[in-house]
């Protein structure tokens, strides 16, 4: 689990991914990318693309559209990498925030009706349990996250998932969950705070 050290001359053996670098490693890769280092960016891509693409698939649902969204997001990561400030958050969350915003913009601009019809068929798109180190690492983390999500109230968890994975606005979430208008945003916030505190992230 050696963090990728961009300064070191020995890169991981061909064809063998090391586990995702720690946050510091990713931040360093972002910094190098901001200076135009394509090799560093390729490492960064390999360490984050499964989550970025998977998130895009969850939100936009169509794999080819998800691929477009992820591509746009990574190009934006490359273009703006120099603006990343590690004092203000992790590299992962910076990248995933970009991906999520683009994915949500995509589903909102697509005709809403199509998406509404298929809302509850989620999850079945070729989620092969794959072999990359990132995915393996992510799935270990995912177990912890799922456990943490179970510590939320049912309404908090549903509101959070509808918003984050389906791209609904809090107003839409309220109507889907039969909540009074204006309360879904509170459920989302409460849910995130509990998730944060349970997982011990965000200082």
């Amino acid at each position: 689990m050696t963090p990728i050290s961009p300064d070191s001359a020995d890169s991981p053996p061909e064809g063998l991914y090391s586990l995702p670098p720690d946050a510091g490693g990713l931040a360093e890769l972002l910094k190098l990318s901001g200076r135009g280092d394509e090799a560093a960016f390729a490492q960064l891509y390999d360490a984050t693309s499964a989550r970025a693409y998977g998130l895009a698939v969850r939100v936009v649902r169509d794999p080819s559209q998800a691929e477009e969204v992820a591509q746009e997001a990574f190009l934006e990561v490359w273009r703006t990498a120099g603006r990343f400030d590690p004092r203000k958050g992790s590299a992962d969350s910076w990248i995933l925030t970009l991906v999520h915003r683009k994915a949500v913009d995509r589903v909102r601009s697509a005709e809403a009706s199509t998406r509404r019809d298929t809302t509850y068929h989620q999850g079945s798109q070729a989620v092969e349990h794959d072999s990359t180190a990132e995915a393996a690492h992510a799935s270990m983390e995912a177990r912890r996250v799922r456990q943490a999500l179970h510590s939320l109230t049912e309404v908090q968890r549903q509101a959070l998932e509808l918003a984050y994975f389906k791209g609904y606005t809090h107003t839409e979430v309220a109507s889907m969950l039969d909540l009074p208008v204006g309360t879904a945003k509170t459920r989302i916030r409460d849910g995130l705070i509990r998730l944060r505190d349970t997982m011990g992230v965000g200082q």
Binding site: Y53, L75, W78, G82, R101, E128, D130, K185, V201
Partner: protein, 262 residues
């Protein structure tokens, strides 16, 4: 401040605000430290949820991303945070196309790479033209831009530029509202040995007042000392390294203020 705006932080982080609410919240954020902290910490929690979604992407994505970056030039880092000494910008911009430049800037037939890059960086904050999860919301421009960048970012910034025969260039950006002017140089030849460039602000009476020293060539971004609002010109002369109180030679460059490029 506004109770209902604070309550939007969670929905903001998961992109569950409509466009109007998002705009309102992003306007609120730079002035609210509590919301900035909360947004940052909740983003870390949100990112964890993506672990559950991880799927190996098709190889075609990797190919297109790595091919795509070859035609995109990374933006230069922002000169955010506490101003670095002399506000020099590290690194040297390569020439190339500048996308996303939204600051009006007339070019007089030469490439103002550094200035344009700086202006674009500022534009990204000020205009919100480029979506930056971390920037623009946690970096209120007035709080984190150095004084020189504030002049460049000012809505009333005026640009004056001079192109030298050797391909180097220099520009002055003046902002009446900030009361200051900034000198930007690009690829300046170094001063003769034992000498330095001295910068001057010319008063409306025609008197040259010392405005700063520049000891080397290359690329610089320097805030000029003195009252730039009433100044009628900015001059550069070659002086002893210790500087002079009045110019000892004719200026190598003289910017006439009042007839702005842009």
């Amino acid at each position: 401040m506004n109770e209902s705006l604070h309550a939007l932080s969670g929905a903001y982080v998961v992109d569950a605000l409509d466009d109007i609410e998002r705009a309102m919240f992003e306007k609120h954020l730079p002035g609210c430290l509590d919301c900035q902290r909360e947004v940052a910490s909740l983003r870390e929690a949100t990112a964890l949820m993506a672990d559950d979604a991880a799927v190996t992407p098709p190889e075609s994505l990797r190919d297109s991303v790595l091919a795509g970056i070859k035609s995109i030039r990374p933006l230069a880092p922002e000169a955010a945070g506490p101003p670095s000494p002399g506000e020099e910008v590290a690194g040297k911009p390569e020439d190339g196309s500048m996308d996303h430049v939204v600051v009006p800037l007339r070019r007089r037939g030469f490439h103002l790479g550094r200035l344009v890059a700086a202006a674009a960086a500022v534009a990204a904050i000020v205009g919100g033209a480029v979506y930056q999860p971390w920037q623009g919301e946690q970096n209120p421009p007035s709080a984190t831009l150095g004084p020189a960048d504030q002049v460049i970012a000012a809505s009333d910034a005026q640009h004056y530029s001079i192109n030298f025969k050797d391909g180097s260039s220099a520009s002055v950006v003046r902002s009446p509202s900030e009361g200051k002017a900034v000198l930007l140089t690009r690829d300046m030849a170094p001063p003769p040995s034992g000498k330095a460039f001295e910068l001057w602000l010319r008063t409306k009476d025609g008197v040259m007042k010392p405005a700063g020293m520049m000891k080397s060539g290359g690329d610089h971004k320097l805030l000029l000392q003195g009252d730039a609002v009433t100044a009628t010109g900015v001059g550069i002369t070659i002086e002893p390294e210790s500087g002079s109180t009045t110019p000892s030679s004719a200026p190598i460059a003289m910017f006439e203020l009042g007839k702005a490029d842009a």
